[in-house]
Subunit: 331 residues, 2 copies
Amino acid sequence: MKKLINTPESVLEDALAGVAAAHPELTVDIPNRVITRTVRPDAPKVALISGGGSGHEPLHGGFVGRGMLDAACPGEVFTSPVPDQMLAAAKAVDSGAGVVFVVKNYTGDVMNFELAAELAAEEGVEVRTVLVNDDVAVEDSTWTAGRRGTGATVLVEKTAGALAERGAPLDEVAALGERVNAASRSFAIALTAATVPAVGRPGFDLPEDEIEVGVGIHGEPGRRREKLRPARELAAEVVETILADHHLTPGDEVIALLNGLGGTPLMELYIAYGEVAARLAQHGITVARSLVGNYVTSLDMAGFSLTLTKADAQLLELWDAPVDTPALKRA
Amino acid sequence: MKKLINTPESVLEDALAGVAAAHPELTVDIPNRVITRTVRPDAPKVALISGGGSGHEPLHGGFVGRGMLDAACPGEVFTSPVPDQMLAAAKAVDSGAGVVFVVKNYTGDVMNFELAAELAAEEGVEVRTVLVNDDVAVEDSTWTAGRRGTGATVLVEKTAGALAERGAPLDEVAALGERVNAASRSFAIALTAATVPAVGRPGFDLPEDEIEVGVGIHGEPGRRREKLRPARELAAEVVETILADHHLTPGDEVIALLNGLGGTPLMELYIAYGEVAARLAQHGITVARSLVGNYVTSLDMAGFSLTLTKADAQLLELWDAPVDTPALKRA
């Protein structure tokens, strides 16, 4: 295993120390493993909190800031954070307007966020939970009952974050998050597996000429293995798989996230995006907004995911709203 | 070779198609291989143009936009663009105030940009050239006489771009670029080699437990090979190597760019940055600003580079100035 780490045991703590050093605009509570905004909102507002296993950076800590998250709770690599972290985060950022937990659908995350919501309620913090389950690849998976939560998390956090920033009430922010999740579908292809530091070897073995179609962000198995093919064909397969589930019709507008899984060069992500855009155009679907880059990664996994969110005027306006986080900025 | 491409021959054209589809704010002239801003500056201003081989994305196309570059000329992978591209770019963006070429010090790039400057002068475009040569690793290298140009390019393009945006005259913008380059030093360590699509295999062989210390962004050999060590030790070596050349003294302020070479997860880059920041603090050097992420990549190479630019009030102010490009945004 070749990794830029000190020890497999200290990766989370060491990474948080780096985040703290790099981002004075974030406050990193290393013992409690909670990342919050250094400058708190001027007025009471609904607080958005997310979290999950580490190894998906910039998700979630990189999305803490004005217009997006109020706090993030990073777990160990590919491991759910614990309820105490989420409770500490909720207490740290609740202004009395309540808290929305944005939870990717993995069994551990769901259970821990549920427990945290109960604990928070006992301490007088009102909590709503938005469950993200956008991955159309498989119905159940290694660590999930139902569909996995992946790229749509970025869209939920961005749009719900923008709405919260404007002072919308708790139920409205949560409802928007649920609506964005329902309007989103994702699908991923891996060219290589990720190596978790504590494991020391790739999560699965993939022959030199094969890919994993429908892979999860922890390397969970997808639908099948196939031979590696040109980007045009892979993009077409990803688009067709999403459209088969998404009921988009010609004339519809989407927000498209072409997401790198960590080990794929940006040049290749642009190649894939060009093919995705061309394929969508053949279907008469307009990409109203797009985002290309590494946003929901899986350590050093090579590959990409595509998320398509059906857009409307409200979602586009919230997507375009100002945001100031390490990983996503908009004036 | 596992790559998300159509064919090795079409990677540049296919990537440019993707950039065009993803970024309406950029205008991509695919036949001429020139990327410009879609919305041109309101008033005449000095135009900043850069370029070089592809495979280093987001450099340079990702830095085209208000507050940074006016145009980028991407060559084939790890191959200089040609003078006709640069001439086309100069003619496209010159507003009469002149053009600054930002050139990384590689023999092919230097020669081609020189020729382009002569051609542009013949057509009445006044050109200045800023040569970036910040890599302290080796004096001469595979494709370079003198020091290689790497991470400092981002700092030159950002600060000179900000100055140009304010209407500073040609000589002043070029002088600022030269000053930033002179104030900058970089050093890189690779854990793995990049694979150029047209070659189909890694650029060098590195045993599973070895690293290349002082590597160039095209995989040029560095100073030596060593055993892989903890991030703390690698960060210390990089910092000490730069400081041995840079004559920084306690109390000095720097802008630090902790740059991923493409294949290293962001989590690991933060680990490395935390160690770099701690080491600099031991020397009494203050990191006034930092940037952590993939900015000057080498396809899928795993590893990182560190660039330290000695800061002063003017450089910090220009670094903080608004910028709106795909890869770097600031309100």
